[in-house]
Structure formats: C-alpha cells, structure tokens
Symmetry: C2
Subunit: 333 residues, 2 copies
C-alpha cells in the first residue's frame, strides 16, 4: 500500500481538469492530503496549503503523488527536478501516468540509491490468481454503467462515504488508477492479463464480516465493445449481492464510439443481473445513480423522478443530492 | 508468422494426450508436417516419418514445433540438447509452453548467435489497438460454448476445412496457443492485457472480401466466471455475423468450478446473441455443434436430433458426422 499522507503534485497543470486525480484525492480522502506543490504557471488549485518538499516532510507527508496528467506523454525535465528532489528528501513517488516512473532511468537510479519506492499504479504489482468462483463471506456491491465515464467511481466513493458516516462497515474497492491513488490500494484492472481479470477482483474483495460491504468501483460497460470484457470480469469476479446502475443522460453516443447508441437502463439492468446471477444467484439491482452535471436543478430532479417511476428503484445523483437513499437501499438488502 | 513446414517434437511424451498439440497440427494441417522427432520412451505417435534434425532439414522443415506438454513445468536437459541442436541446424523453435523459450538463457543465447527465431506463442508479439467497433467488410463466425473445452476449436477448424473444400473463402482465426501453432498465426487472447482484448480480435479479423468468412476460434464461456471476460471480448471484438453454439452433454459441472452448473444451450444462445448484436445487429445463431466423444453412436445421433428439434438449428458433431450441414447454414447466411 502507498504510504499516506500525501503531498499532491499539481505540476504546471494547464487547467483544473488536468489535475482531476488530485481533485479526486482531495474530494474523497482530504485526511490524506497534507498540502499541494505547484510549479510556475499551474492553473489548478486544490485549496490546500502550498508547500515546499521540506515543509511537507516536516508536516508528515510520506508520498509525493502526481495528481496531474502530463503533456504530450513525456515526464518533463521541469517535473524531473522536483521528483528527484522528492526522492532525496525521503518521499516515495506515486503515479498513474502512462509513462512509468520506473522507466525513467534517472528516477529509477535515485530511488534505488535512496531506498525509496516508485509506485506506478497503472501496472499490477501482484500476481493475481485465476478466479475460482467460490462464494465469499460478507457483502459486495458493484456499480455498473450504461457507458464508460458516467460516474461509477464517484457513485461508489459517495456511497462508501455515506455508509461509513452512518456507521455501516464499508470499504471502497478501487479498480482504476485514480481510485487506487485516492485510497492507496486496489487493482488496475484494465492492465491485468486477460486470464487473471476475474481472479484479481476476487483477490480485491476477499472474505469479510457478514455485515461488511465492499463497494466496488465499476469499469467500462457491458455494452461498450472496447471494454466490455473488463466489465464482465467485475460482474463475475466481484460476485455482487447488489448492483447500482449508473447513467449520464446527455451522452449522445458511447464514449469514443460515434455511431454506437447508449443502451437503456433497463437493458443494462437485465443484462447485468442475468450475468451477475451466474456468480451470485441472489444479486439484485437496488438503485440508480444519475450523473446530472450537465442538467439544471429542476431538470435533474425531474429526470431522477422519471427514472425512479420507470424502474421502481431509488434514483439520485449522489454527488448532487447525497447518497442517503442509496445507503437505505443497501441497508435493506 | 511461424515458418512452415514443421518438424513435430514429441519429446518423451508419457502418453498420447500429452502430445495433443502435435495431434492438432497433424489432424488439421497435415501439409505443414514433414515428420516427427521422438525421444526414448515417447508414448505418442503422429504416424509421421521419424526423422533426425538433419533429415527433416533436408526434407524442407523450417521450424521445430514443441508439440508436447512438458513435465513438471521445466524444460528438461534432455529436451534442451535437441532444441539447441535444432537452432544450430537452422531451425526456428515454436512453443506454447508456460515456461518461455526466451527465458531459457542457453536457448536465447544460441538463438541470438545463430540468428534463429524463438516463437513463444503464449505471449502476444503484437501491440494491439483498443477496439473501435467500426463495421468491417467480409463475414465473421464465432464459436461460443456452454463451457470451456467443449470443442470450440475443433468445431471452427472442421467448419473452416469443410468450407474451403466446398470452394468457399474461409480463414480459421486462432485465439489460443494450440490454434496458433496449428496455423502459424493468431492472437493468444488469454495473455492479452485487458484493455486490448477486443482490439486484438478486431486486428485478427480485418476487412476482407464480401464473401470471405473468418471462422473465429472461441475461448471460455460467457457463463464461466473465471474466463467470461475473454469470451466477451471475442463476442464484441469479433463482430460476428453468425454464431455456432458448442456443447458437451456429459459435463456435470463447469470446468474447474465444482458446484457451478452448465447453462442451457438456450441461455447461451440468448445471452450471446443479445451481446453480439451490440457490435453487429445482424448477428444470428445458425447452428449447434455437439461434442459427442463420450456418447455411443445412437446416443449421439438421438441427442443431436433432440437439440435440433428444440432449438430449430442444424445440430451435428462435426468431428463425428462431418460439418457439411453447418457449412450449408453458413452459406445460407
């Protein structure tokens, strides 16, 4: 596991969106964030104290997390200077970038000399087993979506936070790079070898207390032809007791696939349930999460009400309206 | 592509089953087999001429294919002697073993010195794209199964052979190690990184003549919780126009998963069609292939007749009864 707390590296982020990894960590694990480190020209701000490496170390930070996407797929020399200094100051480095820290010869050499860790969360660090399909103790919930990037991670994080606030036993289980950096642990499922995908999710969500819930971050969609195999491994490896259906109503076509229409929520419910029951015959769809970020206040409420009437399931935007109704649905499960 | 023709290495196979890779090559691509090389104690026989390395080279063989499973997961010194000599004699080596040829220091060194190729077909040799879901020219057929190892590869090979015999344009597309060694080309799908699975199948089955069929070897099962993600990538990446449903009626539980029942052929048909139509709305189930190897003659015929009446699709064991009725179904598609 990546050591906390973090100093968030925002680099020279050209806009706030480029720092969305840092934003996710700040939003969902503020207690893990000691401060932020920004370079000249940085257009992102997490509203955390700006700190030098030395100040952050003095404040207890253990890992410098690259919370920003790099430009042009290169780790620039401007960044390198900070990253090398961080290793020398005693920080581990953590990154979800496509270019791996470990592939940078200077970083690898300094990390070795200083005895620090380079965490490339895009790459699995574990040899996962092949799934065995054995029932596991404890409960599991999986977020499944009509499409990629419709808010499955935020739904799972919001639900997990609300459950813990209500005193329920819950663990958010990250299956993507941002989620792993937020929590410090998880499975980078899209980088796992095909044969071990479902097994990696069994590994991620082991036996637990009878009243404990793993809230599993979804990936892709059963209806997204590029990534559906990844989603399938979550549905079978996750052995969910409950599904939350996730949707973004203003999407005009499947992400990255012009000409491919989104499925209906009903189609996702029926397909995901049929498949999930192969692994767990008791699986139920218990709620719907709508990403209403592109809708007005009333439009968002009306849309949720319409879906709720149509599907007969509690329907909210957990980020906008809170996740309490979804928590109630989990508690009733 | 692996250079043909082959000399088949049977090693010290403890029984005929250990040499099933060699048997597959001999059965389906006899024209690729110059001879066999057996060590003392070998209990397998492909009924090919026994040859020394020098004799096989003189007869035109280009690649020594390891057609036998090794014992205990090690490439023994007895084998090594032959493999090193083969490289020195001018052979490439090809293997689907779990232990890679390239990881054996002596083999790697001799291959480098002699300029020969080591083909480890268990590992992808191509950087596959992410699937884009664009419709492609030509036709595609996929074998889908109720379970793993129910005869999907043999069904696809038998269908491809019968189609070519009838003058149709057909290419068997291998997606597993044995299939790749049989044809010299393909995608080792179970070893592909999750994000690129569907893309690897798009890559394997590109645009082609309007009347050309890719006959795609299936893997796993949509109902096998360990490998269903791999199957899903075939259903979406393969964009099939036609499905053949494959089943082995004497199986008492899903392979490797005691306690997991097999799905019905109807359930596989409905699930596979619904999913396949996401990628290709015109997809149809056109026939059923039954693996009757554990049934008597009359029992096999009765079972096929019963399934045919129930599903309304031509139903045969292509290995036992021939694939002609399936070819007719393809031609009518």
């Amino acid at each position: 596991m990546i050591k906390t707390p973090y100093l968030l590296f925002l680099g020279d982020a050209p806009d706030p969106l480029a720092a969305k990894v840092a934003q996710g960590i700040k939003d969902w694990r503020p207690e893990n964030c000691v401060g932020q480190l920004r370079l000249e020209g940085c257009k992102a701000d997490m509203k955390l104290p700006d700190m030098t490496l030395a100040e952050a170390r003095a404040a207890g930070a253990r890992t410098l997390v690259i919370g920003v996407a790099n430009r042009g797929g290169m780790i620039s020399q401007t960044w390198k200077k900070v990253l090398v200094e961080a290793l020398e100051e005693g920080f581990d480095l953590a990154s979800g970038l496509h270019n791996l820290l470990r592939d940078e010869e200077d970083l690898a050499a300094v990390a070795k000399a200083t005895g620090r860790n380079l965490w490339d969360v895009r790459i699995p660090s574990v040899k996962y087993p092949i799934a065995n399909g054995e029932p596991r103790k404890g409960k599991r919930l999986l977020a499944v979506g009509t499409d990629c990037s419709v808010g499955k991670m935020y739904t799972a994080l919001a639900l997990d936070a609300a459950m813990r606030e209500q005193g329920m036993k819950s663990t958010f289980r990250a299956t993507g790079q941002t989620g792993i950096l937020i929590t410090g642990d998880g499975v980078p499922l899209d980088a796992v070898i095909a044969d071990f995908m479902a097994g990696s999710i069994e590994y991620l969500t082991p036996d637990n207390d009878d009243d404990h819930w793993d809230i599993i971050e979804g990936q892709g969609s059963l209806f997204h032809v590029s990534y559906s195999g990844v989603t399938m491994a979550l549905v079978h490896g996750g052995q969910p007791d409950a599904l939350i259906l996730c949707h973004e109503p203003t999407r005009t076509h499947m992400r990255g696939l012009p000409g491919h229409q989104l499925p209906t929520l009903e189609a996702v419910r029926d397909m995901a349930l049929t498949l999930a029951r192969v692994a767990n015959p008791a699986c139920k769809a218990i709620g719907v999460s709508i990403n209403t970020q592109h809708m007005g206040d009333q439009e968002a409420l009306d849309y949720c009400a319409e879906v709720e009437a149509r599907l007969g399931l509690p329907t909210v935007d957990p980020y906008r309206h809170g996740a309490d109704r979804l928590v109630d649905a989990v508690a009733a499960c």
